[in-house]
Every structure is written in structure tokens, then in C-alpha cells.
Subunit: 395 residues, 2 copies
């Protein structure tokens, strides 16, 4: 297989866009990515697009062709991927595989979503479609419930007092909100930058032990990236970011996962796949953009990805290991909690941040001496898991 | 690239399945496909799954992982594709490309949908999400309207008197209903096998000139196929069906297509791509399974695919060219009109019919001396187009 690299990346401001369509939000991100890619429009041979619930929020499915037409790429193959919150990460991974195989030399990848403008009622119903529709939604389980269960299970399985765990979760919230407050493209730019543990613990209870500040917000937004063969990338730009490895795995209903839920085995499998392909280990990763849909989700992710032993990431979090100046900075752009979570755009927005950080051109919180980084995106209750390892080194 | 072949194929009975889930319908089709593939479950490395509107009909998105888990393939990469009525054809094409590249040796492809059980109100709203959500749905345009426009435009552009065109459309309905009446897995098995032109013209007016019998029905159902490298296929079965070529293309809103709508340029592009890859021409195709969502759609498809000149297929249809004993049998299984249209399953159900026909084991209307055939699936108003050429010959 050929090596694949990222050219330009783009991202709309995350937040509320009541008067802009899914097409508008993708197009804004696409053109930012395209303009920094130093290619011509005709070089782009396909669009791989992620969206979760356009049917429900905008009455629009079958969206990929409209994206292609809008940005001037009339007629090219255009594919919509849906894997809940991992939708555009699935699209990114499949695009990378298609370019690696030589099916295409250059593909545009991206995603967009309008959840905040859809309003809480539609947004909540839409988000709930990512859990099992037969056994879970019908039992009233929505995502705060899923991750409240996860937190309580974590506490029990690893024998961590719930009060200590809640403190670690609060620290995730404080850190990601602080990082996000510095992000001019984030939903909470300039806000919530100085939270205290008490603020998180005492914010509105959503589903015990998950409080409002343990949750990521609903968001509208778009993200895009141009991926190409390494050969093409090296011809047109000076700073290709190479895709060293990707992984994807799946899981079934929560009741089938049982206690293994807190081990996030689909993520373990996906991360191991990515590391194996990259011929790297967790120690080679300088920072991570991961799926902190809720604070407990960040702690679970860090373990399943292999950065900490099972049952240990809560402690490492309290010790500051995941801070900007820690041993493994996590979510320097604010993550889902601090930056916002326009579901179908989230995966590629992680790629956006990683690429800009690795180029030393981050929108905020530029890290020093970062060469290799990893993304992690989770769709549903561990149902769709994707990991991507990116680097300045071709290897 | 490696050659790719189809092993087993499967399909649920099409019709009404009020008490069966999207997972159930996929699983039934999957196991029929699997059991005739002579492989072990562990040989299947990924699932590529098509579904259009599970969010709206069943409250379920993010479905691919649940499919994998249900059929015993816990953990493998599982991807949901959505391209309206072409959803599982997109999945099939991407699976073929992934196997051709060597990413996988063996992939399960399929789709399922529950539109009939969803009821007319939800079903109609769900189907409408496949047209442009900003300019078309808001103007009240649903699919009978789209194809009524297409029929009137066809009549005007090619100067075919509307009465003559309606007669040709009626013939499509008569033929596909007759073919479908013989199909034990079809929605209308044993029904509507002896329609007359007057029956079609006088059936309930839906959107002039489209009458009820010009329309395909709403349907629940599932379909599946196992695709593998030709090398693997030749090891495990005696009768691989080879994928000689595939094509995919896109289009934007109808108002941007304008009069070109009746030329279905995305289909022309997609079909030419498939023929080029297969190194074949329309003359090499022995029969076709194509997207007759409405009778006029079959006429438009035959021209854009290259089987007849633009403005000529209505005449060829009246002359019987597309009958079972014509020069190019079209939709021997009944097509969408006679067999039913469980949207996300439709594309792979076309592959099901083609594979069984080419093996001489059709469920109905077995054609003689057929060696190479083509499928055609249309998502939305020409927004997502996929064509697949299958053959008993490896070439």
C-alpha cells in the first residue's frame, strides 16, 4: 500500500448556526482545507462525508452528492458514512484506505452536523438513535444515562470510591473547558476557563453522577481535510502530515457488553490495529485528541487506548498527566467538552487540530516538540470506534 | 488490483415485517448468503452495510456494529453507508474496492430497511429526505412529484406525445408486475401478474401522469452478499460470480440539473465508469436489474446506461425489447415495482438476483444463456448513482 498524507484542513466556527445548512457548514470547512492544499479542484476525485442525523435535524439524508455539487465537484463519487459520533472518522479512514490502495490520488473528507440549532427535543431524540434501538432506547436510555452507568461501573469494577472518581471527572471538565476557552473556533471561546472542582460537582445534575459540566454540549459545525498519496502531497506542499496507522472496531448492545463496557474492548481492538499498522506503541504518541463526550469517557478512553492500565487513568488525570504540560496532553483544543461536538464533524475536527498542532500552527494551546499524535472517536455506546495516528515523520 | 468475486447471496422475503427489526432482516439474508459461501464465520473481516432511514423508521442509526454483533462477528469493522435508495450498492462497491486493494480477503455486504411497517406518514417523510432538504422538500416535492416532472420533461424534450409515453410507462408496469408475480420472495408474489394498459392508466392518480401502478411500493426487507478475492472464491466454491466493473457518480439539486435531469448524467458517468473498468460495452450485457422506482425511471435509466439512445427507450419498451424474451431483459425479478423496494436492501437484492440468474438458479423467470449482467441503483433525484457489472467470466 502507498503512504497517505493530509494536505490542508479546515473547520467552521463551532457553535450555533441557525441560518446555515449542512452544505454551508461543510463548504466553509472544505474551502479552508482546499485553499491550503495547493491543488486544483479537479485534482479531487471523490468526497467521503460523515453525517449522523441530517434526516432528523434538517430533513436531509443522501447528503454527499449535494456537498460535491456545492463545492464545484459536480459528478464525482460522493459517499455518506454514518457511524454516530464517529461518522467522519469512519469516512477519513475509508478515504485513507482508498488512496493507499491507489483507487484515488486525492480525496476530500469531512463532515457537518446541526444539533444545537435543531433544539433540545429533536437533538436529544436524534442523539438517542445511536444506542440500540430495540432494547436501549425503548428502556429510556439516552447518553447521559449510558455514561452515568459507565461511571458507576468503573467505580465498582476498579474499586475507586465514587467521590474520588467524581473529582477526577471534574478535573477532566476543568482541563478541557480551560483548553477550549482558548480556542477561537470552539463553542465556548472565552468561557468557562477557570472552573473549580466545586463548580463541576455542583452544576445541574443530569444523571447521577453526571452533572451538566461533565457533558459536552450540542453544537453545529463542519470540518474537512484533503488526503492524498504521499507522493502527491510531497509535490504540492512542504509539510505533509502522514497517516501512519488507522483502526476501526465495533461492539453490540450494552447488555451484551456487560461489565466489559468499562474496558471499551472495541476501542482496545481499534487502537491496537492502529498501533500495529503504524509500528508504534503508546509511548510514541506525543498528544491525543480523544472522545470526551462525558468526563468519564475520557478516563475510559485513555485506558483502552493503552496509555494507562485499566483502573489507573483517573489517578493519572488527577496527577495532571493529561494537562497541556503533562506527560500526555489530552484534548489541547478543548475536546468535545470544551470545543463542542457537531457529531458528524467531530472526527475530522480532531484531525484538524492534530494536523495544525503537528505543523506548529495550532489555533490555540500550541504544544512544543510534538511529532506524532493520535485521534479517537467513539460512536454510540462503544458501537463504532475509530483511531488515527498522524505524524510529521513518514517512517 | 485483485479480481473480486461474489460467493453466496441471501435475501429475506420482501413485504411487511412488523415484528422484525432491521437487525433481524439483515441477519436472515446474511445467513442465507453465508451458508452457501462455504467459508467459516471467522473468514469475514468486515461488514459493509446499507440503510437509508433507520433513524426515522426504527429510531436506530449507528446500525452496522449491531449487525456484526448479531451474526456472531463481534468486534470487526462495521460501516454503515447511506446513499438513499443506493445505500447498499454504495456499500457493495466500497467492499469490492477494499477487497480488490487487499485490505480484506472477505467482506459481508448487505442492507435492510423497514418502510412498510413504518406506515405511510413516517415512510413518506423518510423517503422525502432523499431529495434536497433546503430547496425541494420545503417546496413540497416528494418522489412521485420528482418523477412526474421527469415524465413531463421527457415528453417535452424528446417530443414524445404524453399519451404515447404513458402507454410505454404502463408497459413497464405490466412487465415488472408480471415478472414480480412469479417471484416467491417478492412483495407481490402471485399478484398483479396480468395487468392491462387500462389498469395502469386508470389506477389511482398520484401525481399526474404518475398513477398508483406506476409506483414501486413501500417494503420491509433485507439482502446480503459475501464478496471475496477471486483467489479465495475459487478455492471455496465452484461458481464464483466475478465483479468486472463498478461505477459511482453524484448530482446536485434538481434546479441545478435543469433539463439535463432526463439525461440522468450522473448515471451516464457511473455506467461509463463501470463499462470502462470491465472493458465491456452495453452490447456485452445479457440482462439488467435497474432502478424502476417509477415506470418512467426505467425508461430514463435504459438510455443513460447506454442501452438505447436518448429519447428511444420508450419505443423499445413498447416493442418488447425489455421483456423476458426481448433482446435485453430488464428486471426479471420484478424490479422495485414488482418485487418491492426496501430501500437500503434494494441494491444488494439486485446483486442477489443477478448472481442467482448467472448461476442458473434464479428464484423465478430464469433466463437462458446469460453470462454477464448489470445492476443500476439510483439514490434520490439522481444524486447517488451506482452501477455494477457481474459475470461468470473472470476475463
Amino acid at each position: 500500500m502507498r503512504k497517505v498524507a493530509v494536505l490542508g484542513v479546515g473547520m467552521s466556527k463551532f457553535g450555533k448556526h441557525p441560518n446555515r445548512s449542512l452544505v454551508d457548514l461543510f463548504a466553509e470547512a472544505f474551502f479552508e482545507a482546499f485553499e491550503s492544499s495547493n491543488i486544483e479542484l479537479k485534482d479531487i476525485e471523490a468526497i467521503y462525508y460523515g453525517n449522523f442525523v441530517g434526516e432528523m435535524t434538517d430533513g436531509s439524508a443522501n447528503l454527499a452528492g449535494f456537498m460535491a455539487d456545492e463545492v464545484g465537484l459536480k459528478g464525482i463519487p460522493a459517499i455518506r458514512f454514518e457511524g454516530a459520533c464517529a461518522s467522519s472518522s469512519v469516512a477519513f479512514r475509508e478515504a485513507v484506505k482508498a488512496v493507499a490502495a491507489g483507487h484515488y490520488d486525492c480525496v476530500a473528507v469531512g463532515g457537518s452536523e446541526r444539533l444545537l440549532s435543531a433544539g433540545t427535543a429533536i437533538g436529544t431524540r436524534a442523539l438517542a438513535t445511536a444506542v440500540d434501538g430495540v432494547y436501549e432506547i425503548t428502556a429510556g436510555l439516552t447518553f447521559p444515562g449510558v455514561f452515568a452507568l459507565a461511571a458507576r461501573l468503573y467505580s465498582k469494577v476498579y474499586e475507586v470510591p465514587l467521590e474520588k472518581l467524581k473529582e477526577a471527572m471534574a478535573y477532566v471538565s476543568i482541563k478541557n473547558h480551560k483548553n477550549g476557552a482558548a480556542n477561537p473556533k470552539g463553542q465556548f471561546y472565552g468561557k468557562y476557563g477557570n472552573l473549580k472542582v466545586e463548580d463541576v460537582l455542583n452544576s445541574r445534575m443530569i444523571c447521577s453522577p453526571i452533572t451538566l459540566l461533565d457533558c459536552c454540549p450540542m453544537t453545529d459545525g463542519g470540518a474537512a481535510a484533503i488526503v492524498a498519496s504521499a507522493d502527491l502531497a510531497e509535490k504540492v506542499i512542504d509539510d505533509p502530515i502522514y497517516v501512519l496507522g488507522t483502526g476501526q472496531a465495533s461492539a453490540g448492545s450494552l447488555f451484551r457488553q456487560g461489565k466489559e463496557m468499562v474496558k471499551a474492548l472495541s476501542r482496545k481492538r481499534s487502537a491496537e490495529m492502529a498501533f500495529k499498522e503504524a509500528k508504534l506503541t503508546p509511548k510514541d504518541v506525543d498528544f491525543v485528541e480523544l472522545h470526551d463526550c462525558f468526563t468519564i469517557a475520557e478516563i475510559i478512553a485513555l485506558e483502552a487506548m493503552g496509555f494507562f492500565e485499566y483502573g489507573e487513568a483517573w489517578k493519572a488525570t488527577l496527577d495532571g498527566a493529561t494537562s497541556l504540560d503533562g506527560e500526555l496532553p489530552v484534548n489541547p483544543d478543548g475536546g468535545l467538552i470544551g470545543k463542542g461536538h457537531p457529531v458528524g464533524a467531530t472526527g475530522v475536527s480532531q484531525v484538524y487540530t492534530v494536523v495544525k498542532q503537528l505543523r506548529g500552527k495550532a489555533d490555540c494551546n500550541q504544544l512544543k516538540n510534538v511529532e506524532t499524535a493520535m485521534t479517537d472517536t467513539l460512536g454510540g455506546d462503544f458501537t463504532t470506534l475509530v483511531n488515527i495516528i498522524l505524524s510529521i515523520h513518514k517512517r
